[in-house]
């Protein structure tokens, strides 16, 4: 099979492949067959994933198939709605058709979270530099995505904004770089430090308020086949007006919180346990509290400097 960048395919080819469900997006460890007839989703995809690798040919073996479509015939025409269909039953709520890009992104997340059993998945952002990786655990309103996007501007490469993907054999983290999902106030924060052209149009009225995506960087895609060894685990806590604070966490507590965030740890069982234990060996975990992005960056830089290379 041939590998080409999405931007190298003529728009009519992309349209045809998407309507046939044969646009094979090859990103990190996964190949996803994408299918949609929705123009909004197609435009978002062609723009945000333009530098991504596409498999061209008829003999793809795919990990996931995702269709973004109207939930039923009525909603295809009247008060139009759209929903992600990952090929198995999932109680996804149909959204107004203008939120198609959100369905695509959520659908792609669903595929990884619920259908990938070769790697242990934890809900966390991951960035790295030559020293190794920083895992930023997800907490509701904790600021994982904002911090991940901020660290991207500080010379870190993005492995993932959503998943720490732990290879069971090597205990290294795999990269699955995707557009970084930003909510509400963090959209403007990231527009300021990354540049307005690096952030997608705002989707308004989603179930989580406003959402926009920070663009994928070419450099992160080019290094996507390089795994990273975790060196630091952070549990961020955003609190308006809070003074910056760092508290060291018991590594067992960190492990339990990561496990609780995993959609597939139980499914993989023992190999996931061993991989996680090996990943945590010699790694330190901290809870960091902050009231703004500058403070969070300062805290992370201090902690990262103390980590051995």
């Amino acid at each position: 099979m041939k590998n080409v960048a999405l931007s190298d395919l003529p728009p009519e080819t992309v349209k045809r492949l998407l309507s046939e469900g044969r646009l094979y997006l090859h990103l990190g460890p996964y190949v996803t067959a994408l299918s949609t007839k929705d123009a909004g989703v197609r435009e978002f995809l062609t723009d945000m994933y333009q530098d991504c690798s596409i498999l061209v040919g008829e003999e793809a073996l795919v990990d996931f198939s995702l269709e973004v479509r109207a939930p039923n015939l009525v909603r295809r025409y009247i008060r139009r709605q759209i929903v992600a269909d990952p090929g198995f039953y999932f109680p996804a709520v149909p959204l107004p058709v203008k939120l198609g890009p959100l369905c695509l992104e959520m659908g792609m997340n669903l595929c990884v979270a619920l259908q990938s059993f070769r790697q242990a998945i934890f809900h966390a952002g991951v960035v790295s530099d030559q020293k190794g990786g920083i895992v930023i655990a997800a907490r509701s309103g904790g600021g994982k995505s904002t911090l991940t996007a901020a660290l991207m501007e500080e010379g870190f490469r993005l492995l993932s904004d959503e998943f720490a993907i732990l290879c069971a054999e090597t205990s290294f983290l795999l990269a699955y770089p995707r557009p970084v999902s930003l909510k509400n106030q963090s959209i403007d924060v990231v527009r300021v430090f990354a540049g307005a052209d690096q952030v997608s149009d705002r989707l308004t009225g989603t179930p989580k308020g406003d959402i926009a995506y920070r663009r994928l960087r070419k450099s992160d895609l080019e290094t996507a086949n390089l795994p990273a060894k975790a060196k630091l685990i952070l549990f961020p806590r955003f609190q308006a007006e809070a003074a910056p604070a760092v508290e060291k966490m018991d590594i067992a507590d960190a492990a339990m919180q990561l496990i609780a965030s995993s959609p597939n740890y139980q499914v993989i069982g023992e190999p996931a346990f061993h991989a996680l234990m090996q990943m945590l060996d010699g790694v330190e975990a901290y809870e960091i509290t902050y009231g703004n992005t500058e403070d969070s960056l300062m805290l992370v830089k201090d902690l990262w400097e103390a980590v051995d290379g």
Binding site: E59, A60, L61, S65, R118, G269
Partner: protein, 342 residues
């Protein structure tokens, strides 16, 4: 003499897929053929079963996908064994006879039909008079009303008309049990003699839980596929029937039709045998006159054209409901479902 069809022929193509899926022939080495087959198996949720019978390949991508599917189905199997034990424990010390149905039975007995199978819920059958006690004990053991059917309409609907309690979900482990007290809804046009089947059930190992005798096991699968569900997952359903049929001795196969007649379920069993003959080349004599042409065509379209069969899907959906309840009740129910969805 009938001319040999090529694999461009949808019927022949699906037959070939079933041969790959059941390990009768090795997986294709041609990349395009392999891709077509794997995506068919993925859509039908049977890749775990393919992984269980496929021999090792030097195609790394294929191995990766098969291992992924095998990990998932190994988990399903662990979960099912665990939950089955919990059910046994919850009902311990009572006289309630519990028959494991479908996947949980196949796994308990280590049948080929259970290896690599994807399972999401556990089906059990108890006598109707034992239902209140069984429900009470399962609730005490942590199973509660599943949220999506906890509303008064669904609760009443299930209890008044269906063959099972509204689904129960375990509050901690999130697993679902369907507790049946018969094999088809109270209102169904066919009324299988489940008590005769229960009388012939035997214990799993030296435990308290029961499973149907092999012939009844096949018959129940046929009822479930062709008189209850709408054949929504054709690949999975037909593979299951094939494995269950394969596990029968010659005598058992010969007794299928008389047993089906005795249990009052001739029609689904005949459709099942017809389908096995059509898709697996199983050597059986099938009396096609009892199977309507429209039904056969609908099943063929559904199995052979997969998703591109909306009309067949609608026909089978309507048929499955028509078989399950009288028209006025059906209309009231579908109307209710339609406005709730909108």
């Amino acid at each position: 003499m009938v001319e040999m069809a090529t694999s461009e022929n949808p019927h022949e193509r699906v037959r070939q897929f079933f041969c790959f899926a059941s390990g009768l022939t090795p997986l294709p080495t041609d990349a395009k053929a392999l891709s077509d087959f794997v995506s068919w198996a993925q859509r039908g949720h049977i890749l775990g079963q393919v992984a269980a019978v496929a021999s090792a390949s030097d195609n790394k991508r294929l191995q990766t996908l098969l291992e992924n599917a095998a990990t998932r189905s190994a988990y399903d199997k662990r979960m099912l064994k665990f939950e089955t034990e919990r059910i046994e424990r919850a009902l311990l010390g009572t006289d309630i006879r519990v028959v494991l149905l479908k996947g949980s039975a196949y796994v308990a007995e280590d049948l080929l039909a259970g290896i690599g199978r994807r399972v999401s819920d556990i089906d059990i059958l108890v006598k109707e008079e034992d239902l209140p006690e069984a429900e009470k004990l399962l609730r005490q053991a942590g199973w509660k009303d599943e949220v999506s059917t906890a509303n008064p309409y669904d609760q009443k609907y299930y209890r008044d008309w269906m063959h099972e309690l509204p689904p129960l979900r375990h509050s901690k482990r999130r697993t679902i049990i369907d507790v049946h007290h018969r094999l088809l809804p109270r209102t169904a046009r066919i009324s299988p003699d489940h008590l005769a089947m229960m009388a012939d059930a035997s214990p799993v190992g030296d435990g308290n839980l029961l499973v149907f005798a092999p012939v009844d096991r096949f018959i129940h699968s046929a009822i479930h596929i062709f008189a209850d569900g709408a054949l929504e997952t054709p690949a999975r359903s037909l593979l299951e029937l094939f494995y269950l049929f394969n596990d029968l001795s010659v005598q058992e196969r010969d007794s299928l039709e008389s047993r089906a007649a005795f249990l009052n379920v001739m029609s689904p069993v005949q459709i099942a045998l017809w389908a096995l003959k059509r898709y697996f080349g199983v050597m059986v004599i099938v009396n096609k006159s009892n199977i309507s042409k429209v039904l056969r065509l609908s099943i063929e379209t559904m199995v052979e054209n997969g998703r591109a069969a909306p009309l067949a899907r609608v026909l089978l959906y309507v048929r499955s409901h028509y078989l399950r309840m009288p028209l006025p009740l059906l209309m009231a129910h579908l109307f209710r479902k339609a406005i709730r969805r909108g």
